[in-house]
């Protein structure tokens, strides 16, 4: 079974519970699946958290681990989606020496063309912020690398699906039981 490895975005809606991150990461660990990125935050539903996790695995693996997440007591629903099925973005920040901004006019062009935002400028350094697809961020990083980057950080993916996820409905159904 040589299935194609693809990038999947896994969304897990959960009760807000301290130990849950442990349970979720253990499921990846047992199966030797590397987490590319992980974001956890509140969701659209009050009191419900959402994990967004990016992994490179086969579809049958995705299906099985989603089953395992779903099995955890405090997981409300879990889903997996391909890149085509989601609208996603990642964001990043660069810290760069201020002198370069004046010495290397090329940098200003890069900032303009890539729609990158200047967060702050001071005597020592300036900070850029950009949100977008992974490849856009990567190419910006390549471009800036030539001049020297003092610090770089990228946040985990955030994603919404193109079609509806019926979590609210499921919660309502439970409350009406």
């Amino acid at each position: 079974m040589n299935e194609e490895i693809k990038t999947f975005t896994i969304s897990i809606y959960t009760e807000n519970n301290i130990g849950l991150l442990n349970r979720i990461s253990a499921i990846f660990q047992r199966r030797h699946i590397n987490i590319e990125s992980l974001t956890t935050s509140q969701s659209e539903i009050d009191g419900v958290n959402r994990f967004v996790i990016v992994v490179n695995i086969s579809e049958s693996q995705a299906k099985k681990i989603v089953g395992q997440f779903q099995k955890q007591i405090e997981v409300i629903r879990a889903f997996y989606h391909t890149d085509e099925e989601t609208i996603y973005t990642e964001s990043c920040m660069f810290k760069i020496k201020s002198s370069l901004l004046f010495e290397e006019p090329q940098i200003q062009n890069i900032i303009k063309e890539s729609n990158t935002r200047i967060v702050t400028v001071n005597k020592e350094f300036f900070v850029l912020e950009k949100s977008g697809r992974r490849n856009e961020i990567e190419s910006l990083r390549r471009d800036l690398n030539v001049f020297g980057i003092m610090q770089f950080v990228r946040a985990g993916r955030i994603a919404v699906t193109k079609d509806e996820m019926k979590v609210t409905e499921m919660l309502l159904a439970f409350n009406n039981q």
Partner: protein, 577 residues
């Protein structure tokens, strides 16, 4: 729950009162109908023990000799009764000693609640004396766990713990309670938990999937059922029997499914798996429809997955949706409670008999009998076989005993040859294969169902892994029967060394102590036998005894268990020798 415990329950929950967290723990247990718990005290759980002392007339705490013993005893209690087993331990080493039993309960879906003490909450994370992160350690082997740091949380968390442990696919739950939460006070009121928002314990059976299953079964020429523990956990024994009989389907069982349908039933064709019977293993690769019910296609059952039942359409009944397509791809999945699903299935089935197909099983049984079973049960050589000991136990207990087996050759022999008339009679460590399981599990089983004959079958290796629990047998006067089949080897490992490692017996030979003297040291009646002529009388005396009894049988040293599906081989490559 009988009416007496029910009245007690009413009493403990009726009035709202200001009590300590530790008293709340004990009252919660009583409210859940817990009559026995197993454990071992220590600093971080002392306040709860103090309350147990106060309530000792109402709830019986059994001091085991090791926390692993407590966990296995709670499992034995749960497996024979279907009720939740309870184990308790102190923080740190007490808690970690429970882990093997918890892992065992997790993989064998056994309902268990473990309560551990923890250092005071202001010391959490400071590497305090006897502090371990038991919630972190137990996470991968519990169905759910939680740390309580405030007295007021205790009733709700324990109610949730019991609900989660026993509902849906059962499993072990651990609640860790800090010492300050035990000392703290709360306004106690107990409400049983009836649901957790994010948790659907029993998915509703979809009638369409049952229809699809019925259609496949009705069209099958060579159908075969493999049932697992899901039948016993779902109390679906009668429903299964009705389905088997109406559709006339030869039916086999996994090790944990044993005893759900009596061994003597004409459509019961034996055990599947590595040391299962020849016919059901071989014919798994001949049937046209394979109906798996409440079993999870463990690799010990399937052997090489790429060669498992490839010709068959597969129907899988299971309560746990994550089991579907996990190991074996199914054509029809019926997700839901087995009792409910099978009840829906029954009226849709055509009444049939598959005589010539059943005959194929009988023909292969005849081969297995000639080549394996005859020598196991009616040996002609001098040394005693494990099989003939089991046969004698069947005769004396008339097939009504609960057999609690440890792990190794004797376990496979016990499962292959025990006659089971009653359900919940085979108590063994299936998924984890934990040596040391049987003695404490037998104690728990006997205490849960004192009217049942409970016989532990243990190897000389496994016996020494929890031999200290003889002390519990003695102190509690638990009339369990303990049979040690002594081959002076770690037999099962030695068998593998013989077959696959050129007979290099690396560290499997055992020089054993005088087991009879040890048992007698614990004031347990004990006997050793070495000859066939002594067997019948010794087993008779043991079963007739009203008290606990220890019987050591010195068996042939280098006997092997067959049939055998070598690990990684296909089930159709099962060997008879």
């Amino acid at each position: 729950m009988n009416t007496e415990t029910e009245n007690k329950t009413q009493e403990v929950i009726s009035k709202k009162m200001r009590i300590s967290g530790s008293e709340a723990v004990v009252r919660c247990l009583m409210a859940e109908g817990v009559d026995i718990l197993y454990g071992y005290p220590g600093g971080a759980i002392m306040p709860v023990y103090d309350e147990l002392y106060k309530f000792r007339d109402q709830i019986h705490h059994v001091l085991t000799r090791h926390e692993q013993g407590a966990a296995h005893a709670a499992q034995g209690y749960a497996r024979i009764s279907g009720r939740v087993g309870v184990a308790m331990a102190t923080s740190g080493p007490g808690a970690t000693n429970l882990i093997t039993g918890i892992a065992d309960a997790q993989i064998d879906s056994t309902p268990m609640v473990c309560i551990t003490g923890q250092v005071p909450s202001h010391l959490l994370g400071s590497d305090a004396f006897q502090e371990t992160d038991i919630v972190g350690i137990s996470t991968p082997v519990t169905k759910w766990n939680h740390q309580v740091t405030k007295a007021s949380e205790i009733p709700e968390v324990l109610a949730k713990a019991f609900y989660i442990a026993k509902s849906g696919r059962p499993g072990p739950v651990l609640v860790d309670i800090t010492k300050d939460a035990q000392f703290g006070e709360l306004d106690f009121e107990y409400k049983k938990c009836t649901g957790v928002r994010s948790y659907i314990p029993v998915p509703k059976t979809n009638p369409e999937s049952v229809k699809a299953a019925a259609k496949l079964i009705n069209s099958a020429k060579k159908p075969m059922i493999v049932w697992g523990q899901g039948i016993i956990l779902g109390k679906a024994e009668n429903e299964l029997k009705a389905v088997v009989e109406k559709a006339g389907i030869p039916s086999a069982w996994t090790i944990l499914g044993a005893s759900a349908i009596p061994t003597s039933h004409p459509l019961n064709i034996g055990m599947v798996g590595m040391h299962g019977n020849y016919a059901p293993n071989k014919l798994t690769n001949e049937c046209d429809v394979l109906i798996a019910i409440g079993m999870r296609f463990d690799d010990r059952v399937t052997g090489d997955l790429t060669k498992y039942a490839k010709q068959a359409k597969v129907i899988h009944f299971d309560i746990d949706p994550s089991e579907i397509d996990k190991n074996v791809k199914t054509d029809v999945a019926v997700i839901g409670d087995s009792k409910d699903s099978l009840a829906q299935l029954l009226p849709l089935l055509d009444a049939k008999s598959h005589d010539s197909w059943l005959q194929e099983f009988k023909d292969l049984y005849a081969i297995e009998f000639e080549q394996v079973i005859k020598d196991d049960l009616h040996p002609t050589k001098e040394g005693l076989t494990m099989g003939e000991v089991l046969k004698q136990i069947n005769i004396e207990s008339k097939g009504d005993a609960a057999i609690v087996s440890d792990v190794g050759q004797h376990q496979m022999i016990a499962c292959r040859y025990s006659e089971f008339n009653l359900t919940k009679s085979n108590i063994t460590s299936g998924g984890l294969g934990t040596m040391g399981f049987a003695l404490p599990a037998a104690i728990g089983a006997k205490m849960a169902e004192p009217h049942r004959e409970v016989v532990a079958i243990i190897g000389d290796g496994g016996f020494q892994m929890n031999i200290q629990e003889l002390g519990t047998v003695f102190q509690q006067r638990t009339p369990v029967k303990i049979v040690v089949l002594n081959n002076e080897f770690l037999g099962m490992v030695r068998q593998w060394q013989q077959l696959f490692f050129d007979k290099r017996y690396a560290s499997t030979e055992m020089t054993n102590p005088d087991f009879v003297a040890i048992a007698k040291g614990y004031h347990i009646q004990a006997k050793r036998i070495t000859k066939r002529e002594e067997l019948a009388d010794a087993v008779k005396e043991m079963i007739a005894s009203k008290e606990s009894y220890f019987l050591e049988v010195c068996v042939e040293k280098e006997d092997n268990v067959f049939p055998m599906v070598p690990s990684g081989a296909s089930v159709s490559d099962i060997r008879l020798s």
